[in-house]
Structures are given as structure tokens and as C-alpha cells.
Symmetry: C2
Subunit: 392 residues, 2 copies
């Protein structure tokens, strides 16, 4: 397979963009990425758009073609991909595959979602499209319930405490304060977190990511194009060492163990093998903390933290910027926000900024970064490993 | 790129499957295709699922992962792709790309939709997700309106008559009578067609495809796998000479000419070049006759019939089975039905049966066939060219 490089990135802020049509957000992020990449539009051979619930929430589909047309990318294949909350990561992986397999010299991945205009009831119903509704539907389960169960199991097995989970929230909310794109950074005390209202015991308000609007985009290019444009770029190139997509059981009954998601483990294993690096080589990770407990499970599944010690590491500050492995320096989903289809590409945006040494909450000497995007009850997962080329 | 072969196909009937969950239909078609292919499940490296509006109509997404899990295809990448009515064709093309690029030895494409359980109002709103609603929405336009305008322009420019368009309906309804999977084959007189109720002048009831439920699936394999399994198969292999995806303007204002869809023309041009064949080599085509007039426009865009003569050819019987080019021997969308996400894969199913010389409405000596799937107002298009290997 050919080498793949990130030549341009773009992102709107994550948060409320009430009144802005979804395609406008997507086009805004995409234009920023295209402009930054300096490449001619004719080089773009494919567009992949990650989106989850624009059908139910906006009555709009074929967004890939609509966005491609507005970008002037006429006649190329424009494809929406969907894998619930992993839709953005799937779009990025497909853009990479097009270049890696030699089918395109360059490709663009765009992720977008608008959610804040809809009522909580409508949004919750739409988000539940990510469940295996035939199996988990009759139980009345929603995602806070699923992650609440996972928390209880993790606590039972490993002794994970409210304080340890609160430490994740505190870190990510604090990181978000430094990220100009973040929806709700905050300086919260452990007391404020543990006394926030109950959502689904043991999950409380600050354990949940917000509802968000937003878009992000990435332009990837072949080695030939990267070599040609390198001298025009105002930033270092970032190489995609691996971009992997896996599946896992879609419902609770099929999960062997709620303290781990099999799609996480298989994606990370494949990504490390492809990239030729191990967990200890990763300087930072943007991972899928849709709920605070998810960060603890995910960092263990990815091999970044020993099994059962995710809570300890968070409380001891070992996952903060400046710690042994910086987890979610952007603020993560908890604080940067979670415009579902955009999240996976937003993670690539954040890690790329870090590897260019151009992030507002910079991890010092960052050289290799990881993104991790998880969909549904663990049904879809993407993991990418990126390397800064002229940084460090 | 590597050669790609169709090793197995499966399909439910198209029509009403009230009460059958959408994932059951998809799994049913997929199991049929897997069984027919004789390959070990472990060889399948990717699953692509074409679906358009299961979110709005069923409250179900992540169908790719759910279906993959039920098929026992654990841990591989399972991806839903969407491009409105071209979603199925896009899924097939992506499965082919995975094998052609050497990323998988085998891949499965599944297309599925359920629509008949919803009210006409809800279904119409969902189908309108395929429009560029920001631009065409305010006009109140729906798809019968769009194709009604196209018909008027085609009639004005080329003198296309009601009788010529009725000949398309008559042929496809008649073809559907011979297809055991078809939803509404019928032996209609020209009088019955021209006196059916008005939907959106000049479009009348029999000019419109029905609302349908259904699923179809195709297993594609590499040359190495094809060589190994050939002796076990109960049917000849079919080679994929080309599978192309293009985009076009998503709204009426951006169309240069409603008597042609640019995405059709670019897809056909690329597909012929890739396949190394021309329109005269095509023995039969399954094309996107969502409305009767669409068949006339499409067959001209694909170069199968001279520009402006689509109506004449239909009336003269030159597009019937036994004519110069058999168009929609399955009955097409008009008669076989149009479960949106399944349609593009259903077309591959039909053409494969023809190239195996195993179709209930067989085109004699069929050797090369084409499929054509069009989404929205011409925003997404796929064209594939298939060749029977041991047939004729």
C-alpha cells in the first residue's frame, strides 16, 4: 500500500450553530482543509462524508453529493458513510484507503452533524438509532444506561471509584478551556462533578458529553503529491501510519464483557501492527469519551493504560497533558463536544495540530498520536495512528 | 487493479414484507449469497450495506454492523453507504474496490430498505431527503414533479409522446410478470396506462415505481479465490469488468439540461473505458426507471440508444427481450419494485442471473450486461459492466 499524508485540516467550532444549515458547516470545514492543503481541486479523487442522523433530524440525506457539488468537486464519487458515532472515523479511513490503494492521488473526508436545534426527545430517539433496537430496544435502554452498566461492572471488578471517574471529567473539562473549538470547557471541582444531577445512576450530568453541532475535514494525499506540495505548505506534513476499522457486537446480550469493547481491542491490535509501533510510542490520544467511564475503558482497551488502572491513572494525573500519556488534550467529547458524524474527523484535526506542534494545549515533543472513534454499543470502531514528519 | 468476480447472489422478493424487521431481510439475502458462493466466512474482508432511509422510517441505523454480526462476520469493517437511490450501487462498487485493490480476498455487498409499513406522507417526506432541500425544497418539488419536468423537456425537444412512454411501462410491467421476485408485473393495455390517474402531469400512476420492501446481496471474490472455488460452484462465475461511481448536480437549478443527467454520462463513459467495451457490446441493461421517462433518458445517457430516440425504440419494441438491447428484463423499478437501498444490488442480482443463463425472462446469448443506479436529482450514479464467463 502507498503512503498517505495529511495535507490540510479544517474545523468549525463545536457547539451551537443554530440556524446554520448542516451543509454550510460541512462546506466551511472542507474549504478550510482544501485551502490549507494548497492542492488543485482536480486532484481530489473522492469525497467521504461521515454523518449519522441528518435524515431523522434534518430531513436531509445525499449530503456527500450536496457538499461535493458546493465544493466544486463535480463528477467524483461522493459517498456518505455511517457507523453511528464512528461515522467520522470511517470517513477518514475510507479517504485514506482511496489514496493508499492508488485509486486517488488525494481525497477529502468531511464529518458533520447538527443536533442542537432538535428537542431532547427527538434527539434521544435519533441517537437510539445506534442501538440494536430489536434486541436492546425492549429493555428501554438508552446510551447513558449502557455506560452506567459498564461503569458498575468496571467498579465491581477493578474497584473504580467516583473520584477516579470525576478525575477524567475534571481533566477533560479543563483541557477544553484551552481549546478555542471546544463547546464547554470548565474549571470544575471534584465536589461540583460528584454533586451534579443524576442522569442514570451512577452517571451524572458532567459524566455525559453534550449535544453539539459542528463539522471537520481532512485532506489526505499520496507521497508524490506530498513531495510536490511540501515546500508550499505553512505547516509540517503528518503521515497516516495506520487507519483501521473493525466491528463488534451491536447489543448488550452479545457482549462478553461490558468492561471492554472487542472492536476497540481488535482495531488497536491491527493499527499497532500496521503502523509498526506500540502503545508506549503514542504521545497523545484523542479517544471516544462519550461518557467519562468510556475514557477509562477505552484507554485500557487501546493498551495505553494497564487493564483496570484507567481510573487510577486519571486520578494520579498520568493522563493529563504533561503526564505519561496525554488523553484527550482537546477536551474530548465531554468538553469539546460531540457532533456525532464530525467527531472522528475532529479527532484527526486535533492530533494533526498536536503533531504540527501548533495546538493551543500542546503536548510537548508530540511525535506520534492516535485517534479512537467508537459507534453504538461497540458495534463500529476506528483507530488511526499518525506521525508528525518535521516536528519534535 | 485485480480482477473481481461475482461468486454468489441472493435476494428476497421485492414487495410487501410487513412485520419483517429490516435486518432480517438483509440477513436473508446475504445468507443466500454466502451459501451460493461456497466460500468460508473468514475470507470476507469487508461488508458494505446500501440503505437510504432506515433512520427516518425505522429508527434504525448501524445496520451494517448489526447485519454483519448476525452473519457471523465478526470484527471486519462493516460500513453503511448512502447516496439516496444509488445506495445499493455504491455498496456494490465499494465491495468490488476492496477486492480490486487487494485489501480483501472477498467482500459482501448488501442492500436493503423497508418502506411499505409507513404512511404515504411519512414515506414521501423520507424520500425527499434525497433532494437538495435548501435549494429545491422551497419550490415544493417532489420527485414526480422533477421527472414530470424532465418529461416535458424531453417531449418538447424530441417530440416524445405519451404512447412512447407508455410503451416503456407496458414492456416493464410485462417483463415483471415473468420475474418471480417482482412486486407488480401486469399485462396492461396502452389505454389502461394512459388513462391511469394523474400524479403530477404528465406523470400518471403507472409511470411511477411502487413503494417496496426488499433486500439483495452479492459476494465478490478475487481471481485467486475464484479459481479455487470454480469447480464447487453450481453456476458460472461472472466477472466485474467495471464498477464506477460519479456525482452530478444535486438540484434543479444546477442542472444544465433536464433531458440528461451528467452523472449518468460520466459514469457510463468511465465504465466503458475501464471495461474496454462499448454500448454495442451490451446485451442487456438493468437501469434506473424510477419513473417511465427516466428509462428513456437513462438509455440515451448510457449511449445504448441514440439521443432523442429512447421513446421510439421503446414503442418499436427494440428495447424488449429479443430486441436490439434488452432494457430492464427484470421489470425494472416500475414493476420489480424499488426498495431504495436494495435496488442497485438487485440489479446486479438480475444481470448476474442473465449472464449465468438462468433467468426466468432470459435474454438469449447474453454475455455482457450493465447495471445503472441513479440517486436524488442526479446527484449520485453508479454504472457496472459484468461479463458472463462460461455462458453462451
Amino acid at each position: 500500500m502507498n503512503d498517505v499524508f495529511i495535507a490540510g485540516i479544517g474545523s468549525t467550532s463545536f457547539g451551537r450553530h443554530a440556524g446554520t444549515p448542516i451543509e454550510h458547516l460541512a462546506v466551511s470545514a472542507a474549504l478550510e482543509a482544501l485551502l490549507e492543503s494548497t492542492i488543485e481541486r482536480e486532484l481530489i479523487g473522492a469525497l467521504y462524508l461521515g454523518n449519522f442522523i441528518s435524515g431523522p433530524l434534518n430531513g436531509k440525506e445525499v449530503l456527500a453529493g450536496i457538499v461535493g457539488h458546493r465544493l466544486g468537486l463535480s463528477s467524483i464519487a461522493c459517498t456518505k458513510v455511517e457507523g453511528a458515532c464512528a461515522s467520522g472515523g470511517i470517513a477518514f479511513r475510507h479517504a485514506c484507503m482511496m489514496v493508499a490503494s492508488g485509486q486517488a492521488e488525494a481525497a477529502i473526508a468531511v464529518g458533520v452533524e447538527t443536533m442542537t436545534h432538535a428537542s431532547t426527545k427527538v434527539t434521544t430517539a435519533a441517537l437510539n438509532c445506534a442501538m440494536d433496537n430489536e434486541n436492546d430496544g425492549p429493555s428501554g435502554l438508552t446510551f447513558p444506561g449502557l455506560f452506567g452498566l459498564a461503569w458498575r461492572m468496571h467498579a465491581q471488578r477493578y474497584g473504580t471509584t467516583r473520584d477516579q471517574v470525576s478525575a477524567v471529567v475534571r481533566k477533560n473539562k479543563s483541557n477544553g478551556l484551552k481549546n478555542p473549538l471546544a463547546q464547554m470547557g470548565a474549571d470544575l471541582s471534584m465536589e461540583e462533578i460528584s454533586s451534579s444531577i443524576a442522569i442514570c445512576d451512577p452517571i451524572q450530568l458532567f459524566d455525559c458529553c453534550p449535544t453539539s453541532d459542528g463539522a471537520a475535514a481532512v485532506v489526505v494525499v499520496s507521497k508524490a503529491v506530498a513531495s510536490r506540495i511540501a515546500k508550499h505548505l505553512k505547516h509540517p506534513l503528518v503521515q497516516v501510519l495506520a487507519s483501521v476499522q473493525t466491528s463488534g457486537p451491536p447489543n448488550i446480550g452479545a457482549q462478553m464483557d461490558l468492561t471492554s469493547f472487542s472492536a476497540n481491542v481488535s482495531a488497536a491490535t491491527k493499527a499497532y501492527a500496521l503502523a509498526g509501533v506500540g502503545p508506549k510510542d503514542i504521545d497523545l490520544v484523542e479517544l471516544h469519551d462519550c461518557f467519562s467511564i468510556a475514557e477509562i475503558i477505552d484507554c485500557e482497551d487501546l493498551g495505553l493504560v494497564p487493564r483496570g488502572e484507567g481510573g487510577h491513572w486519571a486520578l494520579e494525573g498520568r493522563t493529563a497533558v504533561g503526564g505519561e500519556i496525554a488523553i484527550n488534550p482537546s477536551g474530548g467529547l465531554l468538553s469539546k463536544g460531540h457532533p456525532v458524524g464530525a467527531t472522528g474527523i475532529g479527532q484527526v484535526y486535533e492530533v494533526t495540530k498536536q503533531l504540527r506542534h501548533d495546538h493551543a494545549n500542546q503536548v510537548r515533543h508530540a511525535r506520534i498520536g492516535m485517534t479512537h472513534n467508537l459507534g453504538g454499543a461497540g458495534v463500529a470502531c476506528t483507530v488511526s495512528i499518525l506521525k508528525g514528519l518535521e516536528a519534535c
